[in-house]
């Protein structure tokens, strides 16, 4: 009886104080630099803010022009002086955005395990686990090929997308992982796209990553402003 009382006391009073290690993350922000090299060289710098509950990514771009770009699940908007000056449909949405995957704990398989792709092969290769993913359904309009993914230490390292004819469309590498409040976030993403067999490079780096910043409410809303 004495033990039963002790057990009941523990259940009622101590469980709320226990941390099960499952912290809910909904916001992420970072300083972003995008370097692109193809026939010309370009650089874009600024800050990004994403709140998964609001479903919008706000980019406060500082260079090459001062403007705000907003990504939603269906649209992309360009704002100048708080006015929409350009908008168009988003081809990819936010589902495979790196920060959406991080906040939804889907980075391990890059969200492929909950997509229209299915796992068809897994193998170990030295320090890497290589998985092959194929589209579940054939779509006449969007003909897509297989995706081969590499993981190192349970973190995604490489992602290679193939055309249905077997040629490589693009390679992506996720490196320099940073532990931010327990979330492992790659701070460097190198993308190489093979367009007409000529590689086009895009190197994105993130600095000063912060999660769950609820102090700067304005950065995550339509009242967005150019933060310094």
């Amino acid at each position: 009886m004495k033990y039963l009382r002790l057990l009941l006391f523990s259940v009622i009073f101590l469980i709320p104080f226990l941390d099960f290690g499952q912290k809910a993350f909904s916001r992420i922000e970072a300083e972003i630099t995008i370097k692109e090299i193809d026939s010309t060289s370009r650089i874009t710098t600024g800050k990004m803010f994403y709140d998964k509950n609001l479903g919008s990514i706000y980019y406060s771009i500082k260079f090459p022009t001062r403007e705000v770009v907003v990504y939603t699940d269906s649209m992309i908007y360009r704002l100048n002086n708080d006015k929409v000056v350009e908008n168009h449909k988003s081809a990819t949405g936010l589902k495979f955005n790196i920060f959406n995957l991080v906040l939804n704990s889907q980075m391990e398989y890059y969200g492929l395990n909950s997509s229209s792709y299915e796992l068809v092969n897994t193998k170990n290769d030295q320090d890497q686990i290589i998985t092959t993913w194929k589209p579940k359904f054939k779509n006449k309009k969007y003909n897509s090929g297989k995706i081969v993914m590499s993981q190192k230490n349970k973190l995604i390292f490489g992602l290679v997308s193939f055309h249905p004819d077997g040629s490589i469309i693009s390679k992506q590498f996720f490196e320099d992982y940073t532990n931010v409040d327990g979330l492992m976030i790659p701070s460097k993403i190198t993308q190489i796209a093979f367009i007409n067999d000529k590689p086009e490079y895009k190197i994105t780096t993130y600095k000063n990553l912060k999660v769950n910043n609820f102090d700067d409410q304005k950065n995550y809303s339509s009242e967005f402003y150019f933060s310094d």
Partner: protein, 145 residues
């Protein structure tokens, strides 16, 4: 003998497979090292001039002696870039406004802030189609007369 050849074939296949995976998940940026170092110079100029205007930063980039070649600052951010307009992007309603009723369509589509860029482009494609059809009709009518 057969076993040895099978083993050799298996080893060759394994070696080939691991080599192809190593190639697949590797990259070499050496061929763009000059461009990358130039972009790093530009990044430093931007970082050290956070409070300057875009025009001032552009001037500092253009006049920078550490760049291996001139840097063109006249471009848009890639975050807003998209692929070229294709037939899949065509909004046939906006196209019809341009083709059939251009003056009214201009106010319904082009000046409407809620319409996206693809719809506005579709309107102008429709309008251009109307201009071409009308021109051909006039030329044929003029030649017949």
């Amino acid at each position: 003998m057969k076993r040895i050849s099978t083993l050799m074939f298996a080893l060759a296949f394994m070696f080939n497979a691991s080599a192809s995976n190593a190639d697949l998940f590797s990259y070499d940026l050496s061929e763009i090292s000059t461009e990358l170092s130039d972009l790093e110079v530009v990044e430093n100029v931007i970082t050290y001039n956070q409070n300057s205007t875009i025009e001032e930063i552009n001037k500092k980039i253009i006049n920078n002696n550490f760049l291996s070649s001139s840097f063109d600052t006249n471009y848009n951010s890639s975050l807003m870039s998209r692929n070229a307009f294709t037939l899949d992007d065509m909004d046939w309603g906006a196209y019809a406004w341009g083709l059939l009723c251009c003056p009214v369509g201009f106010f319904v589509v082009v000046t409407n802030k809620d319409k996206e860029k693809a719809q506005k482009t579709s309107f102008f494609v429709g309008w251009l189609t109307a201009v071409i059809i009308n021109s051909i009709t006039y030329i044929v009518a003029f030649a017949a007369a």
